[in-house]
């Protein structure tokens, strides 16, 4: 089959905005929870908004954890957005303590209300590119604005996995992480206007080769 992207549908939020971008970029995609469709895709996107615990529960119930492990080990690009990023981590402290997918060592923690005035962190904020030459940033100026909406953020154990950072008042957090074929953004590129579209474009162009 031709090149296509699988957008994982696991009942966690807005898939339409991601598919709208892929349509705009004229790329074939499937919105799916079918293991085979996911396993055969060239790129897999795990979007998602909502609660960490429910998301893991849904992935388990829909028997998607195994296929996610499979694509991570076989080298297919897995792109996580927002909650998707958080799910890749080993554990989360969102309302208790929950195990994540453990693709990236580290944890997900809430914003400290003593350090930031308002939670959630909602709106457009800068992303500081650790390495401006990275293919992800082609055609995007450093410190470009992206749209965020989240109450928790991830802390990777290995700092070298952080390729973008964002400052929210007194808290600096990892807004883009990458480990081999796993990439994730805390912001919503699908809601971030032309810079967000460019992120999708850069990923597709790089992984189409």
């Amino acid at each position: 089959m031709n090149f296509y992207i699988a957008i994982i549908d696991f009942n966690m939020g807005n898939l339409k905005s991601v598919s709208k971008i892929l349509q705009y970029l004229n790329v074939q995609y499937l919105i799916t929870s079918n293991q085979k469709d996911i396993a055969n895709a060239n790129i897999v996107i795990l979007p998602g908004v909502g609660a960490f615990k429910d998301a893991i529960k849904n992935l388990k119930k829909m028997k998607l954890i195994e296929v996610l492990n499979e694509i991570v080990s076989n080298g297919t690009l897995l792109f996580g957005i927002c909650l998707g990023l958080q799910l890749f981590f080993k554990k989360s402290f969102e309302n208790g303590k929950h195990d994540g997918l453990n693709f990236i060592e580290g944890k997900v923690v809430p914003f400290d209300i003593d350090k930031v005035k308002k939670v959630p962190h909602v709106g457009w904020n800068n992303v500081n590119f650790i390495n401006s030459n990275h293919y992800l940033f082609n055609g995007i100026p450093n410190n470009a604005y992206f749209y965020f909406v989240h109450s928790y953020y991830a802390i990777p154990e290995k700092k070298e996995l952080i390729i973008g950072t964002t400052q929210y008042e007194k808290t600096e957090f990892a807004s883009i992480v990458m480990k081999n074929n796993v990439i994730a953004t805390q912001f919503h590129p699908e809601k971030s206007g032309k810079n967000g579209i460019q992120i999708f474009k850069n990923i597709i162009e790089h992984w189409k080769k």
Binding site: K16, K20, V49, K118, P120, G123, W124, Y145, E190, K191
Partner: protein
């Protein structure tokens, strides 16, 4: 560099057209929602709000098809409100392409709806919209248990209205907002009915009171007539986002001009 303040054009929808009234009445046509959405996305709007302003009062559901077609034009956050009464309504709207929903009348009638919706869709998805109007206090009724403010020797409180500003509730807007936050709303959209469409500036006192009191973002609405009003609502009113309608619909000021003016006044803004 900090989180930027947001500029949000608002599409008030009536019978499939964008309209704009004055103090919630005397609606005038302001264009086609699909075309306007596309225009604002290109112009640098930070978000877009689609509000079916007669869905609640006419007890009907929002126009899903129009929501979808409008949402298709934008690659920025898209919030939709008007007549949403059930979890199923919210789910349909999100499926049609909204990122957030704005709840108003149904939330006042059944506050538990906010909690339920936030639990299912996440707080980030739930904006509670409050329409508030100043009620002047005469010496006779000074004992009422409301949040009383005084401006130029006039004492007043803010009353919550529902059904698109048609029905007063006797509820205090500040207290209601505090409750809304506790119930799990992610943002509050506060519209001053006194200032709406009058174009003489936002209700700064209202916006500032809420922003000081709450830990969730406040979107100020009602009264934008020129760029200074928008600077004021950010600086004095401490709003996180400013909503405006007529100044954009009738092309009195461009979003870019407003943003440049804000930046000149030290307000962080996203520019492309």
């Amino acid at each position: 560099m900090p989180l930027t303040k947001r500029i949000i054009p608002c599409l008030d929808i009536n019978n499939g057209r964008v309209v704009k009234g004055t103090q919630f009445i005397n609606l005038k046509d302001a264009g086609n929602p699909i075309e306007l959405a596309k225009f604002y996305d290109k112009e640098g709007a930070d978000e877009l709000l689609f509000l079916d302003i007669t869905a609640s009062s006419n007890k009907r559901n929002i126009l899903i098809d129009l929501v979808e077609k409008t949402g298709d034009q934008v690659f920025i956050p898209f919030t939709v409100g008007g007549g949403l009464r059930t979890i199923k309504d919210i789910r349909e709207i999100l499926r049609a392409g909204a990122d957030k929903v704005s709840l108003n009348t149904a939330a006042v009638k059944k506050p538990r709806f906010i909690k339920e919706a936030a639990k299912i869709f996440g707080s980030q998805c739930i904006v509670v919209s409050i329409d508030a109007k100043r009620v002047i206090i005469n010496s006779s009724n000074k004992k009422i248990k409301k949040e009383i403010k005084t401006e130029q020797d006039i004492s007043f409180w803010w009353e919550v209205y529902i059904n698109g500003g048609r029905t007063p509730t006797k509820m205090d807007a500040i207290k209601w907002a505090e409750k809304v936050e506790k119930l799990g709303a992610g943002e509050i959209l506060i519209t001053s009915m006194d200032k709406d469409g009058v174009k003489k500036g936002y209700d700064i006192e209202l916006t500032r009171t809420l922003s000081d009191r709450l830990n969730i973002p406040i979107i100020a609405s009602g009264g934008a007539g020129n760029p200074t009003h928008i600077v004021d609502v950010f600086k004095k009113g401490k709003a996180d986002a400013a909503l405006a309608a007529s100044i954009f619909h009738y092309k009195e000021y461009s979003i870019k001009l407003i943003k440049d003016f804000c930046i000149k006044n030290g307000i962080p803004m996203r520019v492309n």
